[in-house]
Amino acid sequence: MRWLLLKDLQILRRSPLLVALLVLYPIVIAVLIGFAISRGPEKPRVAFLNEVPPSASVLELNGQKIDVSQYGKEIFSRIDPVPVQSEQEAIDKVKSGDVLGALIIPADLTQKLQAGTGPANVRVYYNAEDPVKARFVQDTIKSEVQDANTALTKQFTKIALTYLDLISKGGNISIFGKSFSVLGLAKAEAIVNAAQAGLPPNDPLRAQLGQVANFARLARDNLDLSNGVLAAVGTPIRADAKIINGGTTPLDAFAVAIAVTVSLMFVTLLLASGILALEREENAFLRLVRGLVSRTGLLIEKMGLAALCAIVVSLVMLAGIALFVSLEWGRFPLWLVALVFGGLGFGALGVAIGGITREVRAASLLAFMLALPMAFLALVPSGAVSSGLYNVIRVVSALFPFKPTLDALNSALNRSGSIGLPLLHLAILTVAFGVIARLSLRRFA
């Protein structure tokens, strides 16, 4: 078998165009995917529950009424809200992938805003099994909450200005339902000046000085209150995000895993399918399997060579990426394990394609046609499509090696989830596609 391997390497060495294509194409695709993953669907479906009763949607601050429900429109400007009846229903929809995330407006939101002692919280749920999706949800929610905050901040700023005016000029203020008379700094100054001018040693004007003292106390109290108000002015609403499933892989690190998986896929698929089909095109297949090499041995040689070349390309790619992104070289053995299993999975699919198509050009075309949808389907986040369609996509993705290879590499590179399950998945797919390839050789010649 090693002589056959040597022969294939010789043929590859004499096909510089093919080798260049095999190296450059996956890099181009990886870059394109990198751009693609930075964008999500235009209006993602988000489960929405507003627990604030309609009667409590208006809050009153210093006599000014603010209808919070109006600010909901800001939140809905870039999401497609899916109304739910309970928080559990929202969580279930996130779990099932029916929606990208869930946004819960708690019943006490307006009370907290009215109290002004700090930000009011909304609750956000999403799956983070896919870092692309996690980043997208984070960005979307952050953006929407920021929009709502900007609108509310304008109102709070107006209120803060009236407080400052009150402290300066004096007047009446209503706090927690009680009305207070505020002297104001201007009047206080006049009183204190007058008191100082005509104050004998045992002065009867203690009452007036008492007013000054009261003002000072109230001013101090108001300043204490303003701490919360100022905090609220900055961020009236905060989002409490809770991840239902998945880890916290950064998008950059995930993009590395995608790029390497795409390279591994293209190089292995094209090589394995092409070099097997080439044996038939050169009419050498029957000569080889006539006692020189077993059919199974031939398949293993093609799978192994394709996987080996793809692993080398992937490692070179990782070394290049490591110049720009920090990678944990201490986990190199795990990278290698993931690449070997992924390479063999793609190799088995490749020889199945080569065995079925039987011609190099047809094999290459089918490999291309299969590879791109295989990659893109595996990257569709839950919530981007309907629940039923998402389940179909998950099943289809599970039938091909891209998703488990991506999971295994993501685990090896980024400590995201367990590596065992994807490796087992890849082993099963390798055997399954190997059997298909072996069966296809029955009519290969």
Partner: protein, 241 residues
């Protein structure tokens, strides 16, 4: 075949009542064949007669449904109709690869011997893609001869060659036979049978119609005033084909 000829012959291959069926179609119906050392055996017949199927079974590429072959496939050289060589590799590299796969004890010696035998020493470092059809077929045959088999099977060896290339190929094949290699070949060119075959085997619809010398075939056809091709056609007509 005369009785005297048969007694002088040293049989190197015997196929006994070979049968093969593809679904409902009977491709070979209890076909028997024997070939002697250094003999040139031509298998002829109309399209679909079972010529390639018979050669494939003798070569071990297909399994027969019934019957037996006296030699295992490993002891028989096989040369497919279309050159089974790697066009990106040179002549020497192709020979070296298959010599290694054949596990020849001295690979380089075997390669040199085959280059000399096929007259391709000057083209040893040329990629096969740059060779003419005739030379490509020589490399194809050389690979079939790497294990120095006693019996060589050729499936329509001259099908894609021009007359000059064909003549050179037959010279080469005759030399092989003269050195003791038994060559069994299929062909549609009955003139080649007349010129080069010691024994002719006629198949039609999977049935063995005749096995003997070309002259005997002409006699059976009762067409001594016709050329061999006309005699062959007359013979097929007599047998209902």
């Amino acid at each position: 075949m005369t009785e005297a000829t048969a007694t002088e012959r040293t049989l190197v291959l015997e196929a006994h009542e070979i049968s093969k069926r593809f679904g409902e179609r009977e491709a070979l119906k209890r076909v028997s064949l024997e070939a002697a050392r250094g003999e040139l055996v031509a298998i002829i017949g109309p399209n679909g007669a079972g010529k390639t199927t018979l050669l494939s079974i003798l070569a071990g590429i297909q399994r027969a449904d019934g019957g037996s072959v006296s030699r295992p496939p490993g002891e028989i050289g096989w040369v497919p109709q279309q050159a089974a060589v790697y066009s990106k590799l040179t002549v020497a590299e192709n020979l070296r690869l298959f010599a290694r796969l054949e596990k020849r004890p001295d690979v380089e010696e075997t390669v040199e011997r085959m280059l000399a035998q096929t007259g391709l020493e000057q083209r040893r470092d040329d990629p096969v893609s740059q060779l003419s059809g005739g030379n490509k077929q020589r490399v194809n045959i050389a690979i079939g001869l790497l294990s120095a088999p006693d019996v060589l099977l050729l499936d329509e060896p001259s099908a894609a060659l021009d007359p000059r290339q064909r003549e050179r190929l037959w010279e080469f094949i005759r030399e092989l036979a003269a050195r003791g290699t038994t060559v069994i070949y299929s062909t549609h060119n009955v003139h080649e049978v007349e010129r080069h075959a010691g024994q002719v085997v006629v198949l039609a619809d999977g049935e063995l119609l005749f096995a003997g010398t070309p002259r005997e075939l002409e006699q059976i056809a009762g067409a001594t005033d016709l050329d061999f091709e006309e005699a062959f056609v007359a013979f097929l007509r007599q047998r209902g084909h």
